[in-house]
Subunit: 291 residues, 4 copies
């Protein structure tokens, strides 16, 4: 496939690379050109502007947030303007339900396809093509893009035909990860103060009822207090939890644990700045315990 | 081994049965005699009183809570009084850190061994000898009791030489299970209101980052809203979360998610009574969302 | 003074009436014309459009929320466009810190004055000219508008020279009111279940340490469970608590009680709809206790 | 009246002094004798042991907590044992509902009267005889003790005929004070970070809707960050909030704000030790905001 790829950050870079490795013809565009040039050396074509992605189908976006996605897609000379009718935009960033719905309407009006396909996984998984892809769109759109998903991830899950549903599932998943980090942070602080080795505690947990990747990944980070360099920065976590709360508020669903995680992340950024992994909310739990 | 076993409830009954099946000579005692008689038909000897357990080593207790354990062990004609010097008491109930420390001291004074060995698993796992056993005690005590643990569980984890440490790990584990239930309850309510099939949502979660038994077990219960008959009743859950909070309070560790779960369980019991599974805090999350 | 007044809802209607009674020449505009006509019979001039407010100074706005204020002030043919240089806009609605900052910049660019002057008080206080006015703006702007504040309120407080500061103080005050309602709701539920007369309880509280208007007003509503007709509807409360959380998030200040109140309000609206007083979060507290 | 008075701490000392000033014949007993001697110089008789209080009626207790009260009243040679039939014990300490019920039963069995009469007010109010007394007991018992209440407090409130009801009202009141401190802590942190003078903010609040003593007292402490010397130490606050939560748990009433305050107090003690005023939970709010 001739695939357009926009957004070569820590996640997007690995994903684009996986597409190239899988044999796709990939044209990349990135705001900061140096990252595009890196991909160029690995076989990507480098677009000088969005209009050069006009011949690609699908065009994948993987950028930081709602604002970046909105500018890129709905702005003057944005994707809606430059993409050909019949071609498909696959939005893989973690964006809000509300924006996903707007993108859906805008592309439909321009006779373009729109697929929401956010992913689970940290940069290491992106580099190893081990992401989980969560997709929602009409079946024919998904079928068309499946080779791209296969190249990027270890497994693809279809939620429904309504693109924004995939975004809600993804955001909820990030909330659930946040809840794991918070629970680990609270119990690890307790083990510390009780004089029990946190590593031993986590070993027991992750070999019994909590034998899931998320407990191993974050348990290790928390036991080692290794919060830098950040795999997923606190402000991004705060953004996502904020999007969960916004979606839940719109649906009139109280989510007290999400509220609690939001408060933790705000406190974390206030105390430690923006360049720290979001799992460092465990550090705040530790500090609040006087550690 | 000649094993004494006290407490033949939903958990204890299965555990005693596993010991019999593994070829141990098991003498059982239960407050309500009818349950003991059931085990009698499967090969257990039935003690008429605690004093008839004097010849057993170890003696295992698996009763409801701190009060029952305290009466059984420290009361007049209790285990401390009737057990022989050199024999060992294995407390497998989920009891408080503070009581475990008291039992430890009382047995030491009576020249008896004391092992804390709480388990993870619901009644189905007890029946299938698939429990996880979390043990803390001096090594020689653990070695002595290991055949019993092997008969009851699928795996045994040693925490430390201080018995109460095992109780704290167990309680923390129950807190972590509670945090999973709460997070699932919040997100499943959100999916419901957003019109996304909760089963589909849970399938995605439990096949990706949350591929752990606890998510599957509780996810199924919550998606099916199957809260009765209760595998683990809400008042027991409340008791355990209360013990976590007591231990954390004593160690000066704030645990806001534990506090939140406690409030949920209190609300659940207030609204639905005492005969409901503790996972029904998800029902409260749903109700608070107007479902 | 020749005062323009926009927004004749339950609060604005009383405020405009107070200005007329104090002898000011008041020109009113309201989206729904019937309310303007009511004021017309009491002596107000009725503007057919915003441009007819051009000769007024100051122009006061008291509309529902950020969206309404933004459209009114910054929209095509909005206040910034129609007001004369040197005249002053007094924004008395409870709006966000961020919008207040934008209004400040827009008016400055148009050489117009801008005063943020949100008020404390429910509709009864507005009708009785007993509001508290919280003002921030350069001193000369405040001096110019003081006769209007004197007519509307029982007392005016100056925060600082930066208009948005008044908005933050007002929002924080609404948060504090929310925290009072929540605390009352929790304790009144406790009294109910313990068989203690809530009225007696509240009498003790409001005659001792809590002898403040807010406890009397809301204590009475909660004890009587009189949540309709709404003096301040739950969605408006949710809007305000949301604005507090947005401002606090921007300043990196965790506010767990505000988060909790937000969740309560969402639950309230989910269960009872939008036409209920925000103090009915006490009803949710009662329900969660099984009442 | 011949009044026995036990417990001459910061609160009790002032109360006993008020009784002496009002002309009562006061016999004091205190575990640490030096404090009793201080009162002796002001006219009190000093008892060498509890048995010397046998001729007093009523006997007032004002000691630290449940444990101290229980030992004093129910212990061997405690008040129940030494007081004469027909005489009355007035328990003014802030104790648990459960203990108050036990004291009630024990005194009834010994044909003694029992009045629960906890007070609102900090040491300054005790010294100035400005406490508020919250009483519950059968009317004739209250009538008998009223002169003592009049000497100690500025006003007495009768809750009901069931002594423990007064304890629940008192505990709930302390919870409400805690909720005020927490709300002030959160908003003062917000003002600080937004560059608004907290003193100005508090002045506005306490002159409008929050014109109650509790807001002035604690607002001043928080704005000045004056948490030492402690008027009411954090561990005592934690004890009281714990008793509220215990009573609410027994009644099946979730109290999320009380849970939150408990977590704050635990964190405060973990970070700052035990010799700090409980209002310093505002310090934790500030720290969590990076201040």
């Amino acid at each position: 496939m001739r695939i357009g790829f926009i957004g070569l950050g820590r996640m997007g870079g690995g994903m684009a690379r996986s597409l190239i490795k899988a044999g796709h013809e990939v044209t990349v565009w990135n705001r900061a050109r140096d990252k595009a040039e890196g991909l160029g050396r690995e076989g990507a074509r480098i677009a000088a502007g969005l209009s050069e992605l006009a011949g690609c189908d699908p065009v994948i976006t993987m950028v930081a947030d709602d604002a970046a996605t909105e500018a890129l897609v709905l702005g003057a000379d944005g994707l809606v303007a430059v993409m050909r009718p019949g071609s498909t935009h696959v939005a893989m960033s973690t964006i809000s339900v509300a924006l996903s719905e707007r993108l859906s309407r805008a592309h439909a009006q321009a006779k373009q396809g729109y697929v929401a396909a956010p992913v689970f996984g940290r940069p290491e998984s992106a580099a190893a093509a081990k992401l989980f892809v969560v997709v929602a769109a009409p079946a024919r759109e998904i079928d068309k893009c499946r080779p791209a998903f296969d190249a990027i991830g270890q497994r693809t899950f279809v939620v429904s035909e309504s693109p924004a549903d995939a975004n809600l599932v993804k955001l909820s998943g990030n909330f659930m990860i946040g809840s794991v980090i918070e629970a680990l942070g609270e119990t690890v602080a307790l083990m510390h103060k009780a004089g029990i080795d946190p590593g031993r505690y986590l070993e027991i947990m992750t070999n019994t009822l909590f034998a899931a990747p998320v407990y191993k990944t974050y348990g290790d980070l928390i036991a080692a207090e290794k919060y830098q360099p950040a795999g997923f920065k606190a402000p991004l976590g705060l953004k996502d939890i904020g999007l969960v709360l916004a979606a839940a508020g719109a649906q009139r669903v109280p989510m007290p644990v999400a509220s609690l995680i939001r408060d933790r992340l705000i406190g974390l950024i206030a105390q430690e700045g923006e360049d720290i992994d979001w799992s460092a909310i465990a550090l705040i739990a530790a500090r609040n315990a006087g550690l």
